[in-house]
Amino acid sequence: MSLAEPPLHEVGDAPGGGEADLTPEPALHRALGLTDHELEEIRARLGRDPNDLELAMFSVMWSEHCSYKSSRSLLRTLPTAGEGVVAGPGENAGVVRIGDGLAVAFKLESHNHPSAVEPYQGAATGVGGILRDIFTMGARPIAILDALKFGDPADARTRHLVRGVVRGVGGYGNCVGVPTVGGELVFHPSYASNPLVNVMAVGLLDERDLTRAAAPGPGNLAVLFGSTTGRDGIGGASVLASATFGESHSADGAKRPTVQVGDPFAEKLLIEASLELIGERLLEGLQDLGAAGITCATSETADRAGTGIEVDLDAIPRREGGMAPFEVMISESQERMLAIVRPERLEAVLGICRRWGLPAAVVGRVTDDGDVTVVSRQGVGESGTPRELARIPARALTSEAIVYDREARPPTHIRRAPAPGAPELPHDGLPERGMDPGAVLVALLGDPNLCSRAWVTTQYDATVGTDTVEANERAAAVVRIKGSRKALVMATDANARIGLIDPYLGAVTAVAECARNVAVSGARPLGVTNCLNFGDPERPEESWRLQEAVRGLGDACRALGLPVTGGNVSLYNESADGAIAPTTQIGIVGLLDDIEQRVGPAFRAAGDLVALLGETVPGLAGSIYAEHAGTAPDDRPPDVDLTRETALLAFLPEAATRGLLRSAQDVSGGGLAMALAECAMWGDIGADVQVSVASAPAAELFGEGPGRVVVTVAADHWGDLHALALRHELPLRRLGTVGGDRLRITLTGEGATGAAEGRGAGVADEVDESLAVLRHAWQAGLPRALGKAG
């Protein structure tokens, strides 16, 4: 379909066109992505037929992307209350108090579909959009994390997407001067045609600067500032984000004009101007323009304040002539903000915008009728009475938009794990290497999902802002707060491999891992943001997956005592190859009270004791090891013991505060062996450890069961640490000692011997590799997988 087809194009433009002409073409609503049922619902809310402009406004606001119509009823089940939460779901970003009059704003958002069509601009505008959500709240953005998911790295199209997306994230983030400090890079075949670009932004604000995206006070002015309005991104929300991709990539190329184009320079000016306007107390409300453009910004701010807004269409600064009213109203041109301003403060507001070189114009005023009204003088002359082109109750577009309870049904065939010896990815080389654990570890270190991300992260500015203490390659990033001893610790995680087998468990695993990643540094997790990436909700199986994931997200957050402060839903992530693996992306920000007490993952000093908190959980399904080596068809992913996770979240900050930990590293992808290798490589010092194996050496070494942390402790603190673990009812097992320039993992116990016999003679019962070998495998992994020398 094309929104530029003549019938629609002409309606609003037609000078003096009578109301009778505005009766929609019979199939127009369908062309706009609305169903017949939805048209009926619109008629019911208006008490009449909508005209074409109104229909276009409904189509974008009732799109899945804006209305959350398939997920809204599910999201209501999530726990949102929590200590210090000052803004929760429904606002542009969640905001949590951190003491000293400060608060942190954070949110995750997807830009999947645009990135699939035009990777550079899709990713760039994804960064721009989430940053606007942060500074709209009155917070200065201080960090970006990006969670990227692609298909097989050997595939040419994947490489094209990786290159474009990475450059887009960097091109935008580097220019606006917000450090990119962490994220995820995941390869899985289900993302081949539909990559995921989820971006998390974190901002810091003085609580007094907290700004609402509302339009209070009839008579106040609506000021649009930032870039001008053009034809880019017309229908992005409805056309791109709310429909499944077609069979051919070339057909999807036709959707390219629906992707917005980013201007990070304008965004940088927008950040500074917005924060100055907020700091000077000149605004009553502030909303950024994202999906559905002016229609969304006006209806949402009006609805939140219980007011209406009259939009003067002719006053909106355009970047091109001949734009139809519907194009102006739904354009997704980037880098625009809508401010609600008292008339007496208008001059001051315009002055600040002028100083930053930003076009600004009064485009409407707040009314008390609860409607979003669009008026224009076009065709009636300067002196004539403005003509009303549209009038829709604001709430009909937003809080009272249509909601669905989609039919949900578990798939009849739940795919569990690849059969033994049938790896999912073609670049597997393990079977020929037998089961030598050292060789397995080296292979895992070079796996595209586990190896060093330096090829990507060196393209991001991670140190601008002079607050970055730890970034990238780490489980969580640490960003200090100037003028205090505090620091924010942030991470984003998902587990699509487990989600594919069990979406409920995938969500629980992601929450647990993300919280653990924040806690290992000694921080207390404050709240959870999320991005739910799923397929077509109109298919009962996909609807069930979404339902299960939301249930898991809610259960895990309730058990861990973490409020969900915001999030985003991205549906229709499908192509002819099928839906993506259910991906519940989690973002968590934690607070470290004293930066000097932070704990890093790297081994520190020879002689320190290495120990494992937690116990091995059976199950290899969903692990990277299983992807290489296969696993039994009836194998399950490891369960999550949320009681144990809760204990870890309490234990780790306490141990850090008491100075008992020399290092701490979460056990996740690649299992215990991988965690030990990372601690050793990053600390540039080896270790000699013994792992007692009861029955299954692969699960002990490479299983990704949750609830485990590798810690090191100075020998004279061992007793205290042990007592603390006992008090928190956490198993703490001593593994060995830090030292040397090799990683030695000796397998002991019954399971080790049995496994050796099963494998035949000549295969070692130990890992014994030099750090140089480990590091080489780890560093070479990504350039090799992507076919790049550098």
């Binding site: 091109g171 580097n174 940088k268 002079t466 100037k482 930066i595």
Partner: protein, 225 residues
């Protein structure tokens, strides 16, 4: 000095204040430099780096005052994008081209300090190398071969990339920072203001800021005498 699109302005302010300077932000439209002894042109993307890095910023109203300040012997430090602006304005020799890798490069480098008798490096101990971050897409220093010889002969090369990290962007003769002929204007690609505290990975950058503070103080004392 804040240009529209500068993004290391507050970082430079933070570092200058840490070093003990009285520092404030100047605006690109300011008619004068408010009596500053030292002007820092910060990193970032002035005017979005549209057209070419630094190419538009050199036309900012304040650049006239900056040129006068430099001609009078006033101190100017251009960092990263600030270096690009100085080069575009002809206040330091050379040009900054696209990195040899054709990618934006972020990381840590080591700098060899060629001279210790300049206002920028007087507090750097002999033999000390500076560990600083880089973050740029256009940092490949270029000057025609013959002019490079002349630049080196007059002691105009102040910083060179050193091993083990080496030259990150393909700069001619590993040049990371240069001086103008008078020796009072310096441009460099790495970020000393980001290496301002051990917590951030290095505080080597403070050696430059402390050198500049001492130099300004000495110059003032000389003028008073």
């Amino acid at each position: 000095m804040v240009f529209p699109g500068s993004n290391c302005d507050r970082d430079a302010l933070h570092a200058a204040r840490l070093a003990g300077m009285e520092a404030e932000l100047l605006w690109h439209e300011d008619p004068d430099l408010r009596g500053s002894d030292l002007v820092v042109l910060p990193g970032g993307f002035a005017y979005g780096d549209y057209l070419r890095a630094g190419a538009l910023a050199r036309f900012s109203p304040v650049m006239g005052a900056l040129g006068d300040h430099a001609a009078r012997g006033g101190l100017v430090l251009g960092i990263c994008n600030g270096f690009q602006v100085l080069a575009e304005a002809g206040l330091v020799p050379g040009a900054l081209l696209r990195n040899a890798s054709l990618r934006f490069e972020h990381g840590w480098v080591r700098l060899f300090v060629a001279r210790h008798d300049t206002p920028f490096t007087r507090s750097v101990p002999d033999g000390a190398e500076l560990r600083l971050p880089i973050a740029h897409g256009d940092g490949c220093y270029f000057l025609p071969e013959s002019e490079l010889d002349a630049l080196e002969a007059r002691g105009g090369v102040l910083f060179r990339y050193a091993h083990p990290e080496g030259n990150p962007n393909g700069s001619a003769r590993d040049i990371a920072g240069v001086l103008n002929e008078q020796g009072n204007v310096c441009g460099l690609m790495p970020h000393p203001e980001r290496a301002s505290e051990a917590l951030l990975g290095s505080d080597d950058g403070m050696l430059l800021f402390r050198s500049l503070l001492e130099s300004a103080a000495t110059r003032l004392a000389g003028m008073a005498a």
